[in-house]
Each structure stands twice: as structure tokens, then as C-alpha cells.
């Protein structure tokens, strides 16, 4: 459909006002809000993610596209909530205890929302107990933990142990990331997935949700 293609293309260029106008127009044309989300906004963000991975665009272009994505999403969200439309998956995300850095975590949240995930952000300095409570309360598909430093990333392991103690470990996929975190550390602590940046985090999250659902 031409208007969905137009939404996707304008989103990729970061034209937020135009995306707003087109989403409203699509709703007036009685298009399914879920289709507008999937084939317009998410499609656009997917293409942005691929371009970023291929070094065709830089971080600011991704962020400007995200601004346009949120402009559309802010219109669609209330309607989608009313209609009970489902997300790709639910993610609980936070920066681990002792760590107050949140830029990386915020970017992952943004890309996850852009890919159609529902994201519950616990913020920074999140204790293992708080992560466990969030898994109990929100029943997410994915628990994402971020840490910048080698000293604080140790709390990722504590959180995984806390999940085991509460018999919750096999009920949620655990993903980890952050400047100090590596693939081998993720394996060592028993996480299901690792991502080095926000774009690969989304790709990995999609794979993991498909495999575990």
C-alpha cells in the first residue's frame, strides 16, 4: 500500500511531522492500526537498522529516524492498546546494580520499541531483587541487562543466580550487553544472548523470542 510505503520512507529520512500527518491520514482511510505499525513504522525502522549495520548511515540518522518513529507511535499506541493488539514480545530492561550509565540501555530500548517489542524500563542501578520482581510481575519474554564496567557487570551473574533461586530462570530469555561485556562472559554466566550494539540486540532478541516461544 502506497501510504505505508510513504510512512516507511519518511521515517527513514527522519521527517517526524510528515510521519505524523501520514499516520493520521492512514487511520482516516480506515487502515488497520496494526498494519500501519508493522508495514509503516516497524518496516522503516528495520531498514534503518540494516543501513546502520552496513555503515550506510551513522547514529544520528538512526536517532532522527527514531524521533519520527515515536511521532507515529504516539498516535498509534492508544488505539493499539484499546484494540488489544499484541507486541512481538515483552522486554524488561535495566542497568545493573551499582551502575548508573544508561545511554546504551536507552538505545537498546529505542530500537526494541522500533521493532515492535513492548519495553518496560527499570532504569539504572537495578538490584537482582528488583529484576526478579519485574520478571514475576511483567512475565517478559526477555530480560535485558546492561553494564558499562567490569566491576558492575558481575551483578549480571548475581541476577541470573537470583532468577534460578526463584525458579524463574527457564521462564525468561536473558540478554546482556554493555561496553565491558563480551560474548564469552555472556556464555560464562549462563545468559541466552549477547549483543554488542542496539541494532544487533534487536536482531538477537527476535531470534531468541522465535526460538523460545
Amino acid at each position: 500500500m502506497a501510504i505505508l510505503q510513504e510512512i516507511s520512507e519518511n521515517l527513514q529520512k527522519g521527517y517526524a511531522p510528515k510521519v505524523t500527518e501520514l499516520v493520521k491520514q492512514a487511520l482516516n482511510n480506515k487502515l488497520d492500526p496494526l498494519q500501519i505499525l508493522n508495514d509503516g513504522l516497524i518496516n522503516g525502522m528495520n531498514i534503518v537498522g540494516v543501513k546502520f549495520r552496513n555503515n550506510e548511515i551513522y547514529v544520528p540518522e538512526v536517532l532522527i529516524a527514531a524521533r519520527a518513529m515515536y511521532a507515529g507511535l504516539n498516535i498509534l499506541r492508544p488505539i493499539l492498546t484499546q484494540t488489544g493488539a499484541t507486541y512481538v514480545g515483552r522486554v524488561v530492561i535495566g542497568t545493573v546494580k551499582g551502575d548508573i550509565h544508561d545511554i546504551g540501555k536507552n538505545l537498546v530500548k529505542m530500537m526494541m520499541e522500533g521493532a515492535g517489542f513492548e519495553v518496560i524500563d527499570l532504569g539504572v542501578d537495578v538490584s537482582p531483587e528488583k529484576f526478579v520482581d519485574a520478571v514475576k510481575n511483567y512475565k517478559p519474554d526477555i530480560l535485558g541487562m546492561s553494564a558499562l564496567l567490569t566491576t558492575t557487570m558481575l551483578n549480571m551473574k548475581d541476577t541470573i543466580e537470583a532468577l534460578k533461586s526463584e525458579n524463574l530462570r527457564d521462564k525468561v530469555v536473558v540478554m546482556v550487553g554493555g561496553a565491558a561485556v563480551t560474548e564469552s562472559y555472556a556464555v560464562e554466566i549462563g545468559a541466552n544472548g549477547y549483543a554488542r550494539d542496539s541494532v544487533s540486540a534487536v536482531e538477537r532478541a527476535k531470534e531468541l523470542v522465535l526460538n523460545y516461544k
Partner: protein, 227 residues
Amino acid sequence: MQVKNYQIEIDKYLVLKYLGYKDKVPKDILDEVGECVDESYGFIKPAICFDQLKFKFKDGILLPDESIIKVQYIVEVLKRSDYIVMAVMTLGKEIEDKISTFFARNDYMKGMIYDVIGNVGLEYMGKRFWQELAEVAKKDGIGITQSLNPGTGGWKDIKDQSIIFNNLNTSLIGVELTDAFMMKPMKSLSMVYGIGKAVKTSLVDHDCAECPLIDCPYRKEVAKCIN
């Protein structure tokens, strides 16, 4: 101990470089970054506190308050110094609030630009302070090391932040250390320099050679000295 307020300059092109641009920058992004840089001068409040300390070389760098820096790499860099300078610098809390507000509003672009502006501002401040110390040292015919920061590069033990904070009254510039040894406001830096006759002046204020993050856009690496 001395406290100083600073005037700093934010290089818009350095902000763009750290945002990932290597060459051509789209005009809308250039304009937005320029506007953010101009606005940032209104809420960045640069301040520094620092002190000069004598030390003894005994099982490490033994300071007057009897705390000891034991990390081998740091001990090797500092041990030939006549004295050390400890400093904590900050851009203040307002820029941190600004960054958080934009991220909370899902305006990731503005949040990210201000975060990078903060990093560029701290880098500028660190470099300028080092240059001031280096000029004085040069007049006195002595040398100065690069800046050494707990938790980065060769200074693996972030717990040593407490050594710096125990020796400076950082409350005068509004900086505190968390239980996990991180500084609040986040746009703050702590550092130690060694100064003395037997010290060779570093070519750069900060050398990332010991840091394993080889893809870091902020990486600076010059492992050479000038005298």
C-alpha cells in the same frame, strides 16, 4: 586544596566526530548539533578542585593520609615523581538532568547530542588543566605524566576512586562518589598526575594505550614522550 571555575569551549566538529561522522554531515544534523552546543553553554557549569600531595614510595604510592596506590602500572608511572596532583572536575548536574529529560521524552537524538557534548566538554577541561600544569612544570624544568584515572586504562581498580575522594573536598564542586565508586554528577572526571625532575612529559594529556576498548570513538593513543 584549590577550587576553580572554568570557561570551556565545545568543538561542534568534535561532537560530530564522536557521533560517528567521518566526513560529510547532513545539514539538518549540523544545524541541530550547532544549536545544542550553543544552548549547552547556558547549563554547563565547569568546576575543578585539586591539590598537590607529597608521597613516599613504600609498597606503592604511600600518601599523607596513609592510603596506598598499589596498582603496579600506576606505581611504575608515578614512582619517579617528586609530588602528585589529584583533581576532580565536573560539568555540573544540569547537563545530566538535561540528558535524562530528553531520553525520558524519547528524544534520543537530543539526549545523545548532549551526552556527547558533555564528553567533549570534559575532554576539553581535562586537556586544558593538564596543559596548565605542564606549562608550570616546563618553566620549572620538570616533567608531568599523562592523566591517570581509576577504573580506566592501566588503572584497573576503580575502588581507588576513594583515595582521590578522601584527599579532596569534592562537595565544594558538588561531586560525590557512589557506593560503586562512580561519580555523581556523571559528567565528572577524577585524575592523578605525577610531576617531577625525573618525569618525562607525556605528549598527550591522556593515553588510551592500556585500554582494551580498541573500537572506542574517544580513543587517543600516543605512547611517546617529549623529553
